[in-house]
Every structure is written in C-alpha cells, then in structure tokens.
Amino acid sequence: MKLKLKIWRQKNGADAGAMVDYDLDNVSPDMSFLEMLDTLNEKLILDGDDPVAFDHDCREGICGSCGVVINGEAHGPEQTTACQLHMRAFSDGEEIIIEPWRAAPFPVIKDLVVNRSAFDRIIGAGGYITAPTGSAPEGNSTRIPKPDADEAFANATCIGCGACVAACPNGSASLFVSAKVTHLNLLPQGQPERTTRVLDMVEQMDAEGFGGCTNTGMCTVSCPKEIPFVSIANLNKEYRRAVKSGRKA
C-alpha cells in the first residue's frame, strides 16, 4: 500500500507545531498502525530526520499507552486501540491525518505524545480502596451478586487510554471517571470510600480542566474497551447520593 500521511509535528511543549506531509510506500495491510509508524520512522532516521514520537508499550491492547486521533477519530476507524488497528482498515492511496489527543489537561510533550498525568491525579483522588496488607484473603469469603460482579468487571476493563477525552467535543473525562466510580462503588471492597470517592474524583476532574458531559455519547463509541454510556448515568447517580449524604470533609 501507498499512503499519504499528514502528521502533527511539535518539538516540545513550547513549540507551536504544525501538520507535516509524508509519503509512505510498501505498507503491508497486515501491519498494525504502530508498525506503519515504525516503518515511517525507519525511513526518517535513514534520511537523517527526527522520527515521529508516539506513545506505546504493550502493543496488545491492554496497557492504554498508545492512542492517536486518526482521521478525526480517537484510535481510528475501528473500536480498538491504535496498536490493534491494522492497515487493512485503510485503502491504498488513502490520506491519513494523525493528531495527538487534544485537551487542555493533556498537554503535548512531543509530536503525538501527550502528558496524561491528569488521569493519575484523578485516580489518586479516589480511584483506590482501603485494603489490609498481608496475605491475600480467602476469595470466596466476600460474596458479590453476579450482576454486580459483571458490571464492575465491564467497567474495570478501562485501560485509562484517554480516547474518551479525545473524542468528546468538550474534552470531558466523564467516561473514564464513571468507569472507575462504577467499578469500585459496586463492590463490597469499595464501600468505605463510596461517598468520598465520587466527590473527590469529580472535584479533581473539574480542577484539571476537563470539560463537562453534554451526553453526546461520542466517548463510548471511541472507547476501545466499550465502557457503556450508562456508566455516566451511574456516576451522576452516585454523585447525587454522595451530595445528599452531606459529607463536609
């Protein structure tokens, strides 16, 4: 395959950055999207140019590091991570526009790499449980109703990639926060912090500068882990419950 690439190049956070055109030949339809970028970078290095910086780690769709906006869609045309997207999803001669996640709380570090520490700070605010250290407790001693376990598990699959923020017209982190809150607030282990968790995580989300949810649903359709949209309704329900409890701290 032959491709016309348009890629966002930006030396560092202070640089203005711009879209740069590249022509790439000999792309196999079996390559992953990241392998296609590797091929481009090999060529750039041989030409003495600076390779395109992009984030990646596991390359098997589980770590959440990769993620770029491809032709306007977070992680590209298929509902998976960029590392699990293959070039057969594109056609020969196609123009592909590649941009970093765009959101004020996700500043660009270099080219396609953004700083997602804002997510870590949201997790730090309440995305944890209080657990005793020491030997692991007997697994079956805490019983969990099957529907709760299923819903908690579905939400626990969030890999924190940030595609929901990138896809949302408001740069909102609601889907991410809702996945964490739904996961932990459903389980018995999450009960001690049930109220503080949702208040603190939402407060951190606002403080980081993520936008609000306008219920467009653009996040869910871009989420590689298919976190359901109704999790946001659940986040709002948990929030309402927590506010009603009137916790002052």
Binding site: V69, E73, I97, R102, V221, N236, V243, G246
Partner: protein, 231 residues
C-alpha cells in the same frame, strides 16, 4: 470574566451544587424540566382554540382566576412567571458557564473533522434561538406590542398574528428549535440526574415522543390559522 471551576471550593450539599460541573448540569436539568412541564401544559391549553372563540377566551380568563379565592386575581399567574424566570435565568447561567468551561477544555481543534456529536452545538444554538423566541413571543402574545390585533382578546391576537406569513415562519423555526432541544434535553436530563439504567432506550424514546408531540402540538395552531381552520 474567566470561569474557573478549578478554583471552586468543594461541594458539601445541595446548596453548593453549583460548584461542580455535574452539579451545574443537575441545576440545568431540573430547571429545564420545570420549563418543560410548563411548555407541555401550555401546548395542551392552546388546543382549546379548536372549540371556538368564546371558549378559548374564557379559558384564558380562567387562567387568571387559578387559586381564587385563596389567591387574589392573577396572583397564581405571577407566581408561575416568577418561578419560570428564575428557572430560565439559572438554566442560561449554567449553560453559558458550562459551555465556556467545555470550550476551554479543547483549546486546539482537530484538523480532521469527524461526523457526529451535533447534539451539543444544536443545544447551544437552539437555546439562543429559544431565548430570542421567548422575548418575541411575550411581545406578540402577552403585551401585544408587536401584534396587529386591535383588542386584548387572546383569540384575536392569535388569528391576527398568524395572518402574517413571516410570523408563522418565526414560530415554525422556534418550534423546530424547541423540538430538538427537548429531543436531546429530556433524555440528557434523565442521564444527568442518574435515572437512566442499563438500557438507555427507555428515556430516549420517551424524549423523542415528547419532543414531537410538543413541536407538532404547538404548530397545529398557527397552521390552522394559515389554512383557515381557525379564523
């Protein structure tokens, strides 16, 4: 004024809900639902016009007597106006401040545009259209300032007002905006208030139904004047 939700003190109860994005959205949802309740009753009331001039004018006069003798004449009407004004002001305040916060969260736009996500911009522009319409509608039907009718009778204001084709066009445009606003807004409010469950289809269908009934219900009146069913 730069809106910084980031520096707000924390939410400690319903009285401080306005400090967070979700809290503000809940204020928007509740005030929207209050206005929607009014809009539905108003639409149904308007249909009395199909029972003729006398009955319609009597209905309008009766509206001023609600709550009597406990309340004085037209007091109920003024209480309702106060509640709706407060709801409208809070709704617009939440819409404007949240929209500004949302726009700030995406300072750099994407080069490649993606399809979809029209609901948010439709709500923003539709909301502004509705605000302009509310002003026009009060000048037309409440004060009669821009209405050609010579009497104060509601029936005459309607027939005279809708004998002007461009006024029918204004009302049509506004009702399309209202229909779309309810279409997304009612379902959105259910989500914001945490009412939606595993399947979101229930409220979505209900919202579309209410939106269409309200839109068509209101438009029946001006178009009946245009086609001579009411004159």
């Amino acid at each position: 004024m730069v809106e910084t939700l980031s520096k707000n003190p924390r939410v400690t109860g319903f009285a401080t809900l306005h400090r967070s994005t979700i809290g503000r959205k809940m204020i928007m949802a509740v005030t929207g639902l209050i206005m929607l309740a009014f809009v539905v009753v108003h639409m149904v009331g308007n249909l009395k016009i199909f029972f003729g001039e006398t009955e319609f004018n009597e209905y309008a006069a009766w509206l001023r007597t609600i709550g009597e003798p406990a309340l004085h004449e037209a007091w109920y009407l003024w209480i309702q106006r106060a509640v709706l004004t407060v709801a409208l002001v809070l709704h617009i305040w939440a819409a404007v401040t949240l929209s500004r916060h949302d726009v700030n969260a995406r300072p750099v736009k994407y080069h490649a545009k993606r399809k979809g996500g029209y609901a948010t911009s439709t709500m923003r522009w539709g909301g502004v259209t509705l605000l302009l319409f509310i002003i026009w509608h009060i000048l037309d039907m409440t004060t009669g300032t821009v209405n050609p009718a010579t009497s104060h009778e509601p029936y005459e204001r309607i027939t005279a007002g809708f004998d002007q084709w461009w006024n029918v066009a204004i009302y049509t445009l506004a009702m399309v905006a209202l229909c779309l606003h309810i279409w997304h807004g009612l379902w959105s409010a259910a989500n914001t208030l945490g009412w939606n469950r595993a399947t979101t289809a229930g409220f979505r269908t209900f919202a579309v139904f209410v939106a269409l009934v309200v839109g068509f219900g209101f438009l029946l009146v001006p178009y009946s004047v245009v086609f001579g069913l009411v004159d």
